[in-house]
């Protein structure tokens, strides 16, 4: 655990304090904060805290946020010739791998939490509901959980891609295409389904309700996270990383 936090400490230092791979990306971060923390809550009003649609944002946003940062994890170290020294240290394989995943996950999750809090402040300042507007419990638990799993998914996939990528650019491109497919596939897939299947799916969604959909999505994301983590662990081999 200590070793993992040590690796994460270094990653955070590079990522957050010094701009890291997000150099030039700080403007887009401010834009995203403005969009999801101020503009959209302002437009939605009190509905922002109750609409199930907003939950979708908190699972999806970290994917975008983390992807930019995590591509740098191994490919960046390889590109800047720091990887071999890191691998020649006493750090166990898992500490290096999990430390990088943890740093990227907490980075994306932290920003989403900041957006969530900012959006709550915006809604309370602008909706004038006459009482304090708070997220219902399923949102208060579900949004951070979905954000964590979404960030974890992007972080693990990013580390996996970055392990073998020759350059940061190559890793970032592969990751962006992957995330785009992940987002578009369910949307396009749903449209391509026969009408009878769509009706069945609609009936299922109606029967399980928002809570059911939320926990199904959470379980699916958690499963995907674990699967990718297992693949990343299997692919992390010091000798392969040195020779690559």
């Amino acid at each position: 655990m200590g070793d993992m936090l040590t690796v994460a400490w270094k990653e955070w230092r590079e990522l957050i304090l010094l701009g890291g791979s997000l150099r030039g990306g700080r403007i887009s971060l401010v834009i995203l904060l403005g969009l999801f923390g101020v503009f959209l809550p302002f437009k939605a009003g009190a509905e922002w805290v109750t609409s199930p649609a907003t939950l979708f944002y908190w699972g999806w946003l970290p994917l975008m946020l983390v992807a930019g940062a995590v591509a740098d994890s191994f490919a960046g170290e390889r590109e800047r010739h720091t990887l071999e020294t890191l691998l020649a240290s006493r750090l166990p394989d898992r500490a290096i791998l999990f430390g990088k995943v943890l740093a990227a996950t907490t980075y994306g999750w932290g920003i989403v939490m900041a957006m969530l809090f900012l959006s709550l402040v915006t809604v309370n300042l602008t909706a004038r509901a006459g009482h304090l507007l708070l997220f219902p419990w399923r949102f208060a638990v579900g949004a951070p959980l979905l954000a964590w799993l979404g960030a974890g998914l992007a972080a693990t996939a990013g580390v996996l891609v970055s392990l073998r990528a020759a350059t940061v650019r190559q890793a970032a491109q592969t990751l962006n295409v992957g995330i785009l497919l992940l987002i578009l596939a369910p949307v396009l897939g749903a449209q391509a389904l026969p009408d009878a299947w769509k009706a069945q799916a609609g009936a299922w969604f109606a029967s399980v309700g928002v809570d059911g959909i939320l926990w199904t999505a959470t379980a699916a994301l958690a499963l995907l996270d674990l699967l990718l983590l297992a693949v990343a662990m299997a692919r992390f081999q010091r000798s392969r990383l040195i020779l690559d």
Binding site: R13, T82, E84, T85, S89
Partner: protein, 309 residues
């Protein structure tokens, strides 16, 4: 008998059809600076990677600090320090953060971290610049910092892979001096790869020469130099090709050449220069000065490289 900190037996590594390291048998005693010499592509870096357990041997075995590199590589990396082919520093971080990260890696407490970083940076003249991001530092300063990083956890064995490569002569000399001081102060065994023979001669107590993955010589630099022929350089005027031919026919003269107007002779063990000088004078030459010495480590190295061709 001095304990060996590195011992290899028929250590080999094959990449596709290339034998980067080929049947290496090596023993490195504790407490010395061991020079591992060879031209580019000789297998020096691969050997270090094998010794650190970063690569698995194709054949043979190695033990480092008592750990088998194939099965106990974690133990080797716990106890050893390394400055590899690239300095491996994080250029966006400050010097202090670079060292602090590796101090955390080696589980040093916060106070031990602070003290050790100061202890290492002060003699290197880097303490006052510890808060600067190192991206704009000179290569020499970065190499010094990388040496400090490698020594941070007081390793009992230090691997240095061509530490002065790419430095200008002044920076290389400074780093060499600092390295010598730090290494003797820390009492660490050093495995130093280099193709800089002056560096090897100055720093190393024992050297091994490797070519195309194979060990071609090992010993104290003086022992290796003793293997080389005695060299004589005759300064004067009126030297001719006929004179050289005459000298080449003399017993004990292995080689006679004219270089920059001077006669350069390679002599056998017991060869005297006075009869040769007399011969030159009788043949019409004027001798002003005779310099006689053993060959340098560089001469030995070049001879070894030629012999193995």
């Amino acid at each position: 008998m001095v304990e060996a900190v590195i011992r290899t037996e028929k250590l080999s590594r094959v990449f596709d059809k290339v034998r980067a390291v080929d049947g290496l048998d090596l023993e490195v005693p504790a407490g010395i600076v061991f020079g591992f010499l060879g031209p580019n592509g000789a297998g020096k870096t691969t050997t270090i990677r094998l010794l650190l357990g970063l690569l698995e041997p194709s054949e043979g075995r190695a033990t480092v600090l008592g750990f088998d590199t194939r099965h106990q590589a974690g133990g080797v990396r716990e106890k050893a320090g390394a400055l590899l082919e690239h300095h491996g520093l994080y250029e966006r971080l400050s010097a202090e953060d670079n060292l602090a990260f590796y101090a955390r890696v080696w589980r040093m407490t916060a106070s031990a971290r602070r003290d050790r970083i100061r202890e290492l940076l002060e003699p290197l003249g880097l303490w006052d610049r510890r808060s600067e991001a190192i991206g704009r530092w000179s290569r020499g300063m970065k190499q010094k910092l990388a040496v400090a990083r490698a020594l941070l956890h007081r390793p009992s064995l230090l691997f240095l892979d061509e530490p002065t490569a790419g430095l200008d002569p002044v920076a290389a000399a400074t780093l060499r001096d600092d390295l010598g001081t730090l290494v003797s102060r820390e009492g660490v065994t050093v495995f130093l790869t280099t193709h800089n023979l002056v560096e090897a001669e100055r720093l190393c107590h024992r050297v091994a020469v490797i070519k195309q993955g194979r060990l071609v010589a090992v010993g104290h630099p003086d022992e290796l130099k003793a293997r080389s022929a005695t060299r004589a350089e005759i300064v004067g005027r009126g030297f001719t090709d006929a004179m050289l031919a005459l000298l080449r026919n003399q017993p004990g003269v292995a080689r006679a050449d004219l270089r920059n107007g001077r006669i350069v002779l390679e002599l056998g063990e017991s060869s005297e220069t006075s009869p040769l000088v007399r011969l030159i004078v009788q043949a019409g030459g004027a001798v002003e000065e005779v310099r006689k010495d053993k060959g340098s480590l560089e001469d030995v190295f070049l001879t070894l490289m030629e012999e193995e061709r």
